[in-house]
Symmetry: C2
Subunit: 133 residues, 2 copies
């Protein structure tokens, strides 16, 4: 009975963890967030299908271990209804600290950067931030 | 025994929900994310203390109900170690849909915008996005 309960709790816990990761819900204060911004503009192209189904899965696979969570935003508009969105896409990669990001990119950065031209002609802006809240 | 199990499961579930909300972790696909970016630059000033302790609490209070979650990032650097961060601060406000944001801002936007000069001389860039992942 006791063992059964513990097994049951473990199952519930594992499921909760999994859905937290899928939905990017395990964000903690102090984590390092790498924000990759693709600015919109005349003549700019972005293949969302390739990005979501090829590029991001590749990034997750290459940075597995160091990369804790990912999130992707698709631009709708500026502040005013109908105003153009400043960014086509903003992507977020969460790490425990800056070293974890730098070490992972030192090994895999070349392969990741080489794939950018497969989905966009936008030169992304990259920001490393600390999650305050 | 069966009732006991259900109660136990409910307790575990309730705890998981609670910690998700406290840490801003209840982000769901399809939510609307308003991103407010304060670009860095020569002569730019930003009072983080006022922003965290006065401005954001005021925004939360004014938009309560419509505003589901907030997040704040503080810039550390660009992609390369030591490179300047493109943004001093990036703030995120989550709503269920665009109308919820627009309706809340139609009533409270003036008061929120009037407070900006109390903590920064940076004109924020505002992006409305859909949370894809």
């Amino acid at each position: 009975m006791f063992v059964g309960l513990i097994m049951l709790l473990s199952t519930v816990n594992a499921k909760a963890q999994q859905s937290q990761s899928t939905d990017g819900q395990a964000v903690k204060k102090g984590m390092v967030k790498v924000t990759i911004l693709y600015a919109s503009g005349e003549g700019k192209k972005f293949d969302m299908d390739y990005y979501s189904n090829k590029h991001i899965p590749m990034v997750k696979s290459l940075l597995a271990g160091a990369l804790k969570l990912t999130a992707i935003d698709k631009g709708i508009s500026g502040a005013a209804p109908g105003a153009p969105a400043p960014f086509v896409v903003i992507c977020y990669l969460y790490f425990d600290n800056v070293s974890a990001y730098q070490n992972a990119m030192a090994v895999n950065g070349g392969k990741i950067r080489a794939d950018i031209s497969n989905y966009t002609n936008i030169q992304p802006v990259i920001q490393i931030s600390e999650v305050l809240e």
